[in-house]
Protein backbone atom coordinates (compact mmCIF):
# COMPACT_ATOMS: atom_id res chain seq x y z
CA UNK A 1 0.00 0.00 0.00
CA UNK A 2 1.14 3.49 -0.71
CA UNK A 3 0.23 6.58 1.29
CA UNK A 4 1.43 10.17 1.25
CA UNK A 5 2.99 11.60 4.39
CA UNK A 6 3.52 15.38 4.29
CA UNK A 7 3.34 15.18 0.51
CA UNK A 8 5.89 12.37 0.13
CA UNK A 9 5.00 8.85 -1.04
CA UNK A 10 5.58 6.08 1.51
CA UNK A 11 5.03 2.31 1.40
CA UNK A 12 3.23 0.77 4.38
CA UNK A 13 2.07 -2.67 5.43
CA UNK A 14 -1.72 -3.30 5.55
CA UNK A 15 -2.06 -3.19 9.35
CA UNK A 16 -0.39 0.19 9.85
CA UNK A 17 -2.21 2.57 12.20
CA UNK A 18 -1.56 6.26 12.79
CA UNK A 19 0.19 5.33 16.05
CA UNK A 20 2.51 2.83 14.40
CA UNK A 21 3.25 5.29 11.59
CA UNK A 22 4.18 7.96 14.16
CA UNK A 23 6.44 5.42 15.85
CA UNK A 24 8.14 4.65 12.53
CA UNK A 25 8.61 8.40 12.04
CA UNK A 26 10.00 8.61 15.60
CA UNK A 27 7.40 11.19 16.64
CA UNK A 28 5.73 11.38 20.03
CA UNK A 29 1.96 10.96 20.12
CA UNK A 30 1.51 14.03 22.31
CA UNK A 31 3.14 16.98 20.60
CA UNK A 32 1.75 16.36 17.12
CA UNK A 33 -1.32 17.31 15.12
CA UNK A 34 -2.46 14.90 12.43
CA UNK A 35 -4.69 15.52 9.47
CA UNK A 36 -6.01 12.47 7.60
CA UNK A 37 -7.37 13.23 4.12
CA UNK A 38 -7.94 16.87 5.04
CA UNK A 39 -9.56 16.34 8.44
CA UNK A 40 -8.04 16.72 11.90
CA UNK A 41 -7.77 13.38 13.64
CA UNK A 42 -8.18 13.35 17.44
CA UNK A 43 -5.37 11.80 19.45
CA UNK A 44 -7.60 9.14 21.01
CA UNK A 45 -8.18 7.69 17.52
CA UNK A 46 -4.49 7.32 16.61
CA UNK A 47 -4.21 3.74 17.89
CA UNK A 48 -7.38 2.44 16.21
CA UNK A 49 -7.21 4.25 12.86
CA UNK A 50 -5.92 1.92 10.14
CA UNK A 51 -4.39 3.53 7.10
CA UNK A 52 -5.75 2.72 3.65
CA UNK A 53 -4.16 2.80 0.23
CA UNK A 54 -3.77 6.38 -1.13
CA UNK A 55 -4.46 8.03 2.24
CA UNK A 56 -2.97 11.50 2.62
CA UNK A 57 -1.54 12.21 6.05
CA UNK A 58 -0.13 15.49 7.25
CA UNK A 59 1.81 15.39 10.51
CA UNK A 60 2.98 18.51 12.35
CA UNK A 61 5.27 18.26 15.33
CA UNK A 62 5.60 21.04 17.89
CA UNK A 63 8.54 21.99 20.06
CA UNK A 64 8.20 24.03 23.25
CA UNK A 65 8.80 27.76 23.65
CA UNK A 66 6.77 30.90 23.32
Amino acid sequence: MQIRVNGKARQITPSTTISSLLQELRLSNAAVAVELNGEILPKEKFAQTLLSDLDRIEVVQFVGGG
Binding site: A33, E39, F62
Partner: protein, 268 residues
Protein backbone atom coordinates in the same frame (compact mmCIF):
# COMPACT_ATOMS: atom_id res chain seq x y z
CA UNK B 1 -15.98 66.81 -5.09
CA UNK B 2 -16.43 64.54 -2.10
CA UNK B 3 -13.50 63.93 0.23
CA UNK B 4 -12.88 62.40 3.64
CA UNK B 5 -10.95 64.66 6.00
CA UNK B 6 -9.90 62.99 9.25
CA UNK B 7 -12.38 60.26 8.21
CA UNK B 8 -15.32 62.69 8.09
CA UNK B 9 -17.04 63.22 4.71
CA UNK B 10 -16.79 66.72 3.30
CA UNK B 11 -17.91 68.28 -0.01
CA UNK B 12 -15.68 70.87 -1.68
CA UNK B 13 -15.43 72.79 -4.94
CA UNK B 14 -13.62 71.09 -7.85
CA UNK B 15 -9.92 71.80 -8.45
CA UNK B 16 -8.94 72.20 -4.81
CA UNK B 17 -5.37 71.07 -4.00
CA UNK B 18 -4.11 69.31 -0.89
CA UNK B 19 -2.51 72.46 0.51
CA UNK B 20 -5.57 74.58 -0.38
CA UNK B 21 -7.56 72.18 1.77
CA UNK B 22 -5.08 72.50 4.64
CA UNK B 23 -5.15 76.32 4.41
CA UNK B 24 -8.93 76.16 4.56
CA UNK B 25 -9.46 73.61 7.34
CA UNK B 26 -6.37 73.40 9.54
CA UNK B 27 -3.71 75.96 8.67
CA UNK B 28 -1.32 74.82 11.38
CA UNK B 29 -1.39 71.11 10.44
CA UNK B 30 2.21 69.96 9.99
CA UNK B 31 1.40 66.36 9.09
CA UNK B 32 -0.63 65.94 5.90
CA UNK B 33 -1.47 62.39 4.87
CA UNK B 34 -3.08 61.68 1.49
CA UNK B 35 -4.52 58.17 1.02
CA UNK B 36 -2.26 56.67 3.68
CA UNK B 37 0.90 58.45 2.51
CA UNK B 38 2.48 61.51 4.21
CA UNK B 39 2.99 64.37 1.71
CA UNK B 40 5.49 67.23 1.84
CA UNK B 41 4.48 68.59 -1.54
CA UNK B 42 1.15 69.84 -2.80
CA UNK B 43 -1.03 67.44 -4.81
CA UNK B 44 -4.21 67.88 -6.82
CA UNK B 45 -7.19 66.23 -5.11
CA UNK B 46 -9.61 63.76 -6.67
CA UNK B 47 -13.07 62.65 -5.74
CA UNK B 48 -13.00 60.07 -2.90
CA UNK B 49 -9.51 61.02 -1.61
CA UNK B 50 -8.84 60.51 2.09
CA UNK B 51 -6.88 63.25 3.82
CA UNK B 52 -5.63 63.37 7.39
CA UNK B 53 -4.50 66.67 8.90
CA UNK B 54 -2.57 66.49 12.17
CA UNK B 55 -1.03 69.24 14.26
CA UNK B 56 2.02 67.61 15.86
CA UNK B 57 1.80 67.53 19.64
CA UNK B 58 -1.91 68.28 19.75
CA UNK B 59 -4.02 65.70 21.59
CA UNK B 60 -7.09 65.16 19.42
CA UNK B 61 -10.59 64.68 20.82
CA UNK B 62 -11.53 61.03 21.49
CA UNK B 63 -13.97 60.83 18.56
CA UNK B 64 -11.25 61.90 16.10
CA UNK B 65 -8.35 59.91 17.56
CA UNK B 66 -9.22 56.57 16.02
CA UNK B 67 -9.23 57.96 12.49
CA UNK B 68 -5.91 59.71 13.09
CA UNK B 69 -4.35 56.53 14.48
CA UNK B 70 -5.42 54.65 11.37
CA UNK B 71 -4.12 57.37 9.03
CA UNK B 72 -1.10 55.37 7.87
CA UNK B 73 -3.13 52.31 6.90
CA UNK B 74 -3.93 51.96 3.26
CA UNK B 75 -7.53 53.23 2.82
CA UNK B 76 -10.01 50.36 2.88
CA UNK B 77 -7.76 48.24 5.10
CA UNK B 78 -8.83 49.81 8.37
CA UNK B 79 -12.53 49.11 7.88
CA UNK B 80 -11.83 45.40 7.34
CA UNK B 81 -9.33 45.14 10.19
CA UNK B 82 -11.80 46.88 12.49
CA UNK B 83 -14.41 44.19 11.85
CA UNK B 84 -12.04 41.31 12.68
CA UNK B 85 -12.21 39.23 15.85
CA UNK B 86 -8.99 37.42 16.79
CA UNK B 87 -8.47 34.84 19.55
CA UNK B 88 -5.09 34.63 21.31
CA UNK B 89 -4.37 31.49 23.35
CA UNK B 90 -1.57 32.38 25.74
CA UNK B 91 -0.35 35.84 26.80
CA UNK B 92 3.38 35.14 27.08
CA UNK B 93 6.23 36.02 24.73
CA UNK B 94 4.26 35.25 21.58
CA UNK B 95 0.74 36.18 22.68
CA UNK B 96 1.52 39.52 24.33
CA UNK B 97 3.49 40.73 21.29
CA UNK B 98 0.87 39.49 18.83
CA UNK B 99 -1.79 41.32 20.87
CA UNK B 100 0.18 44.59 20.86
CA UNK B 101 0.73 44.43 17.08
CA UNK B 102 -2.93 43.64 16.38
CA UNK B 103 -4.16 46.40 18.70
CA UNK B 104 -1.82 48.88 16.99
CA UNK B 105 -3.30 48.11 13.57
CA UNK B 106 -6.80 48.52 15.00
CA UNK B 107 -8.19 44.97 15.07
CA UNK B 108 -11.74 45.36 16.37
CA UNK B 109 -11.81 42.64 19.00
CA UNK B 110 -9.21 40.48 20.75
CA UNK B 111 -10.19 37.49 22.91
CA UNK B 112 -7.19 36.61 25.10
CA UNK B 113 -6.86 33.65 27.49
CA UNK B 114 -4.06 32.78 29.94
CA UNK B 115 -3.89 31.47 33.51
CA UNK B 116 -0.48 32.84 34.48
CA UNK B 117 0.81 35.81 36.49
CA UNK B 118 3.44 38.31 35.36
CA UNK B 119 6.77 37.38 36.92
CA UNK B 120 10.28 38.82 36.63
CA UNK B 121 11.63 36.20 34.19
CA UNK B 122 8.87 37.12 31.70
CA UNK B 123 10.20 40.63 31.21
CA UNK B 124 13.08 39.58 28.92
CA UNK B 125 10.57 39.19 26.10
CA UNK B 126 6.96 39.78 27.14
CA UNK B 127 5.03 43.03 26.80
CA UNK B 128 4.71 43.82 30.51
CA UNK B 129 6.33 46.29 32.91
CA UNK B 130 8.17 45.83 36.22
CA UNK B 131 5.29 47.46 38.10
CA UNK B 132 2.95 44.74 36.77
CA UNK B 133 4.78 41.83 38.44
CA UNK B 134 2.21 39.71 40.29
CA UNK B 135 -0.78 40.76 38.18
CA UNK B 136 -2.71 38.24 36.09
CA UNK B 137 -1.16 38.44 32.61
CA UNK B 138 -4.53 38.93 30.92
CA UNK B 139 -5.37 41.84 33.24
CA UNK B 140 -1.97 43.50 32.74
CA UNK B 141 -2.18 42.98 28.98
CA UNK B 142 -5.68 44.43 28.76
CA UNK B 143 -4.45 47.53 30.63
CA UNK B 144 -1.48 47.90 28.25
CA UNK B 145 -3.62 47.42 25.14
CA UNK B 146 -6.12 49.98 26.41
CA UNK B 147 -3.29 52.53 26.60
CA UNK B 148 -2.08 51.65 23.09
CA UNK B 149 -5.45 51.62 21.35
CA UNK B 150 -8.64 52.21 23.36
CA UNK B 151 -10.73 51.37 20.26
CA UNK B 152 -9.76 47.68 20.28
CA UNK B 153 -12.24 45.70 22.37
CA UNK B 154 -10.33 43.29 24.62
CA UNK B 155 -12.11 40.32 26.20
CA UNK B 156 -9.99 38.42 28.73
CA UNK B 157 -10.27 34.94 30.24
CA UNK B 158 -8.11 34.27 33.30
CA UNK B 159 -8.14 30.47 33.03
CA UNK B 160 -6.23 27.41 31.83
CA UNK B 161 -7.44 26.46 28.37
CA UNK B 162 -8.53 22.84 28.03
CA UNK B 163 -10.62 20.69 25.72
CA UNK B 164 -13.88 21.61 27.47
CA UNK B 165 -13.53 25.41 27.50
CA UNK B 166 -11.68 26.07 24.20
CA UNK B 167 -14.86 25.95 22.06
CA UNK B 168 -16.61 28.33 24.49
CA UNK B 169 -13.81 30.86 24.93
CA UNK B 170 -13.06 30.96 21.19
CA UNK B 171 -16.58 30.36 19.89
CA UNK B 172 -16.87 33.65 17.99
CA UNK B 173 -13.62 34.56 16.32
CA UNK B 174 -12.32 34.83 12.74
CA UNK B 175 -8.73 33.67 13.36
CA UNK B 176 -7.02 31.92 16.30
CA UNK B 177 -3.42 32.53 17.37
CA UNK B 178 -1.73 29.67 19.21
CA UNK B 179 0.76 31.29 21.57
CA UNK B 180 1.48 28.62 24.18
CA UNK B 181 4.84 27.67 25.59
CA UNK B 182 4.30 23.93 26.10
CA UNK B 183 4.53 21.64 23.04
CA UNK B 184 1.80 19.20 24.15
CA UNK B 185 -0.54 22.10 24.94
CA UNK B 186 0.04 23.53 21.44
CA UNK B 187 -1.03 20.21 19.90
CA UNK B 188 -4.04 19.90 22.24
CA UNK B 189 -5.28 23.41 21.42
CA UNK B 190 -4.94 22.99 17.66
CA UNK B 191 -6.58 19.56 17.63
CA UNK B 192 -9.48 20.69 19.83
CA UNK B 193 -10.10 23.96 18.01
CA UNK B 194 -9.86 22.60 14.46
CA UNK B 195 -12.19 19.70 15.29
CA UNK B 196 -14.82 22.19 16.54
CA UNK B 197 -14.18 24.90 13.94
CA UNK B 198 -12.53 23.31 10.88
CA UNK B 199 -13.11 26.40 8.73
CA UNK B 200 -11.45 28.94 11.10
CA UNK B 201 -7.72 29.38 10.44
CA UNK B 202 -5.16 28.89 13.21
CA UNK B 203 -1.74 30.58 13.25
CA UNK B 204 0.63 28.65 15.52
CA UNK B 205 4.35 28.79 16.37
CA UNK B 206 7.04 26.18 16.92
CA UNK B 207 10.79 26.67 17.08
CA UNK B 208 11.39 30.22 18.34
CA UNK B 209 14.03 29.82 21.07
CA UNK B 210 17.65 30.91 21.14
CA UNK B 211 19.48 33.32 18.85
CA UNK B 212 19.84 31.44 15.57
CA UNK B 213 19.53 33.65 12.49
CA UNK B 214 16.29 35.60 12.23
CA UNK B 215 15.92 34.50 8.61
CA UNK B 216 15.40 30.87 9.63
CA UNK B 217 11.96 31.81 10.99
CA UNK B 218 9.30 31.29 8.33
CA UNK B 219 5.52 31.06 8.01
CA UNK B 220 4.29 27.85 6.39
CA UNK B 221 0.90 26.32 5.72
CA UNK B 222 1.16 22.87 7.31
CA UNK B 223 -2.46 21.65 7.52
CA UNK B 224 -5.56 22.71 5.60
CA UNK B 225 -6.27 25.51 8.09
CA UNK B 226 -3.08 25.62 10.15
CA UNK B 227 -0.23 28.03 9.54
CA UNK B 228 2.99 27.46 11.47
CA UNK B 229 5.61 30.09 12.27
CA UNK B 230 9.15 29.32 13.41
CA UNK B 231 12.14 27.24 12.37
CA UNK B 232 10.33 24.08 13.53
CA UNK B 233 13.32 22.98 15.63
CA UNK B 234 14.69 25.48 18.15
CA UNK B 235 13.10 24.23 21.34
CA UNK B 236 13.27 26.11 24.63
CA UNK B 237 15.60 24.08 26.87
CA UNK B 238 18.55 24.50 29.23
CA UNK B 239 21.19 26.44 27.30
CA UNK B 240 18.67 27.68 24.71
CA UNK B 241 16.41 30.27 26.28
CA UNK B 242 13.62 32.43 24.94
CA UNK B 243 14.56 36.01 24.10
CA UNK B 244 12.81 39.11 22.89
CA UNK B 245 14.31 39.35 19.38
CA UNK B 246 13.56 35.87 18.03
CA UNK B 247 10.27 35.36 19.92
CA UNK B 248 9.27 38.85 18.76
CA UNK B 249 10.09 38.02 15.15
CA UNK B 250 7.92 34.91 15.37
CA UNK B 251 5.11 36.85 17.06
CA UNK B 252 5.15 39.43 14.30
CA UNK B 253 5.16 36.68 11.67
CA UNK B 254 2.02 35.44 13.40
CA UNK B 255 0.46 38.92 13.54
CA UNK B 256 1.24 39.48 9.85
CA UNK B 257 -0.29 36.10 8.94
CA UNK B 258 -3.41 37.09 10.89
CA UNK B 259 -3.58 40.44 9.04
CA UNK B 260 -3.22 38.70 5.69
CA UNK B 261 -5.98 36.22 6.55
CA UNK B 262 -8.26 39.08 7.66
CA UNK B 263 -7.63 40.79 4.32
CA UNK B 264 -8.35 37.60 2.38
CA UNK B 265 -4.75 36.99 1.30
CA UNK B 266 -2.75 33.77 1.52
CA UNK B 267 -1.10 33.77 4.95
CA UNK B 268 2.25 32.31 3.95
Amino acid sequence: MDLFVNEKPISTEEGLSLFDLRAWLKKDADIVILNGFPCREDHPLRNGDRIILIRRGEVPPFDELEALMAARHTPGVHQRVKKARVGIAGAGGLGSSVAVALARIGVGKLVIADFDLVEPSNLNRQQYFTDQIGLAKVVALRDNLERINPYTEVVIHDLRLAQDNIPIVFGEIDVLVEAFDDADAKAMLIETFLRCFPEIPVVAASGVAGYDPANSIVTRRVLRNLYLVGDGQAEAKPGQGLMAPRVGIAAHHQANAVLRLILGERAE
